[in-house]
Symmetry: none
Subunit: 163 residues, 2 copies
C-alpha cells in the first residue's frame, strides 16, 4: 500500500508527543522523506500532512505563479510560511507546535485521517462532526444522482484505537 488510508485516533503524552499510525509511517518511509511536512488546511480546521508527494503538490501550485509576482508571494507565505517540517522520533512520534494545535483545536487526542497522497490530523470531536456532515452530503448527492446508497454502515472498528 502506498497511500494513506483509514483513520486512527491516538493520544498525546505528557511531552506532547503522539505516534503516527504504523501504516502511515510505512507510506512515509516508502515516499522517502525525513520528517513530516505539515500545514494548516486552507479550508478546514485540520492539518494537512505528508512527505515528498505533498511537497510536490505544493510546488506544482507555486510554480504556476511567475517569479516575483504578487500571487507567488502570497502562495509561498500561505503555504510554505505556515508549514512546519516536524521531526519524527525513533518511535515514530511527532510533536505538534502550539500554532498547529491551536489551529485545529487539538488538546490531548488527535485523529489521523488518510486521504490518499496525504493525510489530515483532526481534533477527534471535530472530525466526527465533519465526517457525519460529509457522509450526509454525499448521501444527498447520490440521491440526487439516482444512485441508491447502501444502508448505514457504522464506523469501522480500529485495531488498538479507542474512539
Amino acid at each position: 500500500m502506498d497511500r494513506f488510508v483509514s483513520h486512527f485516533t491516538n493520544r498525546l503524552d505528557a511531552k506532547g508527543r503522539v505516534s503516527i499510525p504504523a501504516s502511515f509511517r510505512g507510506v512515509l518511509a516508502r515516499d522517502g522523506f525525513e520528517g513530516l511536512y505539515v500545514h494548516p488546511s486552507l479550508d478546514r480546521e485540520a492539518l494537512d500532512c505528508g512527505g515528498q508527494a505533498l511537497l510536490q503538490e505544493i510546488d506544482a501550485l507555486l510554480d504556476k505563479q511567475p517569479l516575483f509576482s504578487d500571487e507567488r508571494d502570497l502562495f509561498s507565505t500561505a503555504l510554505l510560511g505556515t508549514s512546519e517540517v516536524l521531526k519524527v522520533d525513533p518511535e515514530g512520534r511527532i510533536v505538534l507546535t502550539e500554532t498547529l494545535k491551536a489551529y485545529a483545536g487539538i488538546v490531548d487526542q488527535v485523529s489521523f485521517v488518510g486521504q490518499g497522497s496525504k493525510f489530515q490530523i483532526w481534533e477527534p470531536g471535530r472530525f466526527q462532526a465533519h465526517l457525519s456532515e460529509a457522509r450526509e452530503r454525499v448521501r444527498q448527492m447520490k440521491k440526487s444522482l439516482g444512485t441508491p446508497i447502501p444502508p448505514e454502515v457504522g464506523s469501522p472498528a480500529q485495531r488498538g484505537a479507542r474512539e
Copy 2:
C-alpha cells in the same frame, strides 16, 4: 531540507541582536554564503532575506530588462541599492540596521517567514495581519482555479486493509 519553510518569532536582545532560526541557518549554510543578504521587500513592509539563491533570483530579474534601460536602472536601484549584507555572529545572530527596522516597523520582536528560496522578516503583528489576508486570497484563487476537491469521505478501509 534545502528550502526555507515554516515561521519563527524571536526577540531582539539589548544589543539589537536576533537569532536566525536554526533551520534557516542550515539552509543558508548549505547554500554557501557568508553573511545574510537583506533588502526591503518591493511590495510589503517586510524584509527579503537569503543567500546565493536569492541573489540569483534578483540577477535573473534584472537580466530580463534590457541593458541601460530605465527599467533595469530602476530595478537595480530598488533591489540592489537598498540591500545590505549583514554579518552573522558565531551564534547565528544578526543585527538589523535602523533603516531596515524602520521600514518593517520592527521594535523588539521579529517573525522569520520561510518562502522556499528566500525568507522574510516581519514585525510579528503585521505578519499576522498579512498572513490572514494571504490565506484568504489563496483560498479565493484556488476556488476560482477550478473544482474544489470534495472532502474524501466514503468508507474508511477496514482493519485488515493495510499494505
